[in-house]
C-alpha cells in the first residue's frame, strides 16, 4: 500500500472520530489547550501507524492512540497525576453493592451539569478514563480493556468504583474527591 492510499484511508477512517478523540483528551488532561496538543500529536502518530490498523471500526483504535498519547504527555508534564496509581486501588473494598437510599438517589437525579462535570473531573485518572469511555463513548468492556491496556476484570472493577465515587461525590456537602484515600484500620493512629 502506498502513501497516497494510506492517507486517503486515514482521512476516511480517522477524521470522523476527531470529536471522540478530543472529548477523551479533554477529560483526561482537564483543559482545552493541552487536549488540543495531545489530539494533534495523536493524529500524527495515528497517521504514521495507519498501515498497522486492520478492521473497519477505527474509533477504538484512534481512542487508544489518543489515550496513550495523553498518558505519555501527562507523564512528561504532570507526572503526579499518572504515577503512583496504586494497583491496590483496583481492589474494590466494599464488594457488596452499596445500599440504595433516597438521599443519594435524589442527589443523583438533581445534580446539574456543573456538579456532574466536577465529580467526573475529580475522579482519579484510571477511573475517569474507563467511565468516560463507557458512558460518553458507549464502548464495550472489551473495547475499553483494549484501549486502556487492562484486563476486562479490571475494567469492571474500575467502572464499579468510579460510579461508587461519583455517587458519593454528588451528595450535598460531599468533599471533592481528588484521590482515593487508603482505609485506615479502626483504632490505628494516622501519623
Amino acid at each position: 500500500m502506498n502513501d497516497g492510499d494510506n492517507r486517503r484511508r486515514f482521512e476516511l477512517l480517522a477524521l470522523p472520530h476527531l470529536d471522540a478523540a478530543y472529548n477523551l483528551a479533554r477529560w483526561l488532561t482537564h483543559n482545552d489547550h493541552d487536549a488540543q496538543d495531545v489530539v494533534q500529536e495523536a493524529f500524527l502518530r495515528a497517521m504514521r501507524y495507519m498501515g498497522g490498523f486492520r478492521g473497519d471500526n477505527a474509533r477504538p483504535w484512534i481512542l487508544q492512540v489518543v489515550r496513550n498519547t495523553c498518558f505519555s504527555w501527562l507523564k512528561e508534564n504532570r507526572p503526579i497525576e499518572v504515577v503512583g496509581f496504586d494497583e491496590n486501588d483496583d481492589v474494590v473494598h466494599d464488594v457488596a453493592a452499596p445500599v440504595a437510599d433516597e438521599p443519594h438517589s435524589m442527589a443523583v437525579r438533581n445534580a446539574d451539569r456543573e456538579q456532574i462535570d466536577q465529580a467526573i473531573a475529580a475522579l482519579p485518572i484510571a477511573y475517569r478514563e474507563v467511565l468516560v469511555l463507557r458512558e460518553l463513548e458507549d464502548l464495550s468492556y472489551n473495547e475499553i480493556a483494549r484501549i486502556a491496556g487492562i484486563p476486562v476484570g479490571t475494567v469492571m472493577s474500575r467502572l464499579a468504583r468510579a460510579r461508587g465515587l461519583l455517587r458519593q461525590a454528588l451528595m450535598p456537602g460531599a468533599r471533592p474527591l481528588l484521590r482515593t484515600v487508603p482505609r485506615v484500620a479502626k483504632g490505628a493512629k494516622t501519623s
Partner: protein, 260 residues
C-alpha cells in the same frame, strides 16, 4: 440462600455486559428483592444523569483546522511526485471522497487555501479547456464582436459585477475579436478573444481577493494554459499556439492586466 450480588456484577448488569443467563438471573431476583431493584434503579439514574448532563467536549474550530492541515500538508507533499494529468485525475478522483468527509474537511476547505490550490487549479484548468474548446468548435466565440476595446469593455462591464481591462495586444499579427460572458469557477467571468495569426486565444478575467501570483504555465491536452493574479484580477489564458508564441501573448496580456 443465593450468593450476594456484588457491585461489579451489578454494574456489569446495568451495562448489559453479563452473559445471558446471569443477566436473566439478576432480572428474576430483582422481582423478589426491592433492595436490589432500588440499586439497579439508582445505577441507571446515575448513568442517565451522566449521559444527559456530563459535558461532551466538542473540538474547537482551531483544532479541526490544525488536524485537517496536518493531514492535508502530508497530502500536498505527495503531489509533486505525480506527473502531469495524473494529478488532475487523482484530484478529481478524490473530490467525491473529500466532500464525503463532511464538516471536518469542509472546514479545512474553507480555511486552508494552500492545500486546496492544487485541486482548484486542476478543476479550473479543466473548465478553461472545456470553455475554449466549446467556443472554438461552436460558432459562439464572442457575444460582442469588435476589435475596439472602447466597445468591448463597456459591453462586458454592463453585464458583469466588475470591469475587466480590455486592450489590443501590442503584438504583430494580433487582433482583438471581441468578448463574451463565460462561466468559470462558479461565477460569470469576462472572456476576451484574440486571434494570433491563425490561432485563437481565450483570455478569462474575473476578480479575486487573493494576493498577486506569478504566471504558471502548463500544457493540457495539447493546449497551452497560463494563469496568474494581478491587481485583484484572476487571469487564465488558453490557446493552441506553440509555447514560445503563447508566452509572448501572456507577456502582452499581463501588461494589459497590470493597468488600472
Amino acid at each position: 440462600m443465593k450468593p450476594e450480588i456484588d457491585s461489579l456484577q451489578l454494574n456489569a448488569f446495568v451495562d448489559g455486559e453479563l452473559n445471558l443467563s446471569s443477566q436473566l438471573e439478576i432480572e428474576e431476583r430483582m422481582g423478589d428483592d426491592p433492595g436490589l431493584r432500588a440499586q439497579v434503579v439508582e445505577l441507571r439514574q446515575l448513568r442517565k444523569a451522566i449521559l444527559d448532563r456530563a459535558s461532551y467536549h466538542a473540538p474547537p474550530l482551531a483544532l479541526r483546522k490544525r488536524v485537517a492541515t496536518t493531514v492535508a500538508s502530508n497530502l500536498a507533499a505527495l503531489i509533486p511526485q505525480i506527473a502531469g494529468t495524473l494529478v488532475v485525475q487523482r484530484w478529481l478522483g478524490w473530490r467525491p471522497m473529500v466532500v464525503s468527509l463532511g464538516l471536518v474537511t469542509a472546514l479545512a476547505l474553507a480555511i486552508t487555501p494552500t492545500w486546496l490550490r492544487s485541486a482548484r487549479e486542476s478543476r479550473l484548468t479543466e473548465e478553461v479547456v472545456a470553455s475554449h474548446v466549446r467556443a472554438t468548435l461552436g460558432q459562439h466565440l464572442v457575444d460582442v464582436a469588435s476589435s475596439d476595446h472602447h466597445i468591448v469593455k463597456p459591453w462586458l462591464s454592463a453585464k458583469l459585477d466588475f470591469s475587466p481591462s480590455v486592450r489590443e495586444l501590442q503584438l504583430a499579427g494580433s487582433v482583438l475579436l471581441g468578448g463574451r460572458i463565460d462561466y468559470l469557477d462558479g461565477r460569470p467571468v469576462a472572456a476576451l478573444v484574440y486571434r494570433q495569426g491563425e490561432h485563437i486565444v481565450n483570455s478569462f478575467v474575473w476578480p479575486t481577493t487573493g494576493a498577486y501570483s506569478a504566471a504558471v504555465f502548463s500544457t493540457e491536452r495539447g493546449f497551452q494554459v497560463a494563469h496568474w493574479a494581478r491587481g485583484g484580477m484572476n487571469h487564465w489564458v488558453i490557446s493552441d499556439l506553440n509555447r514560445q508564441e503563447f508566452e509572448a501573448v501572456v507577456r502582452a496580456l499581463d501588461l494589459v492586466g497590470g493597468e488600472p
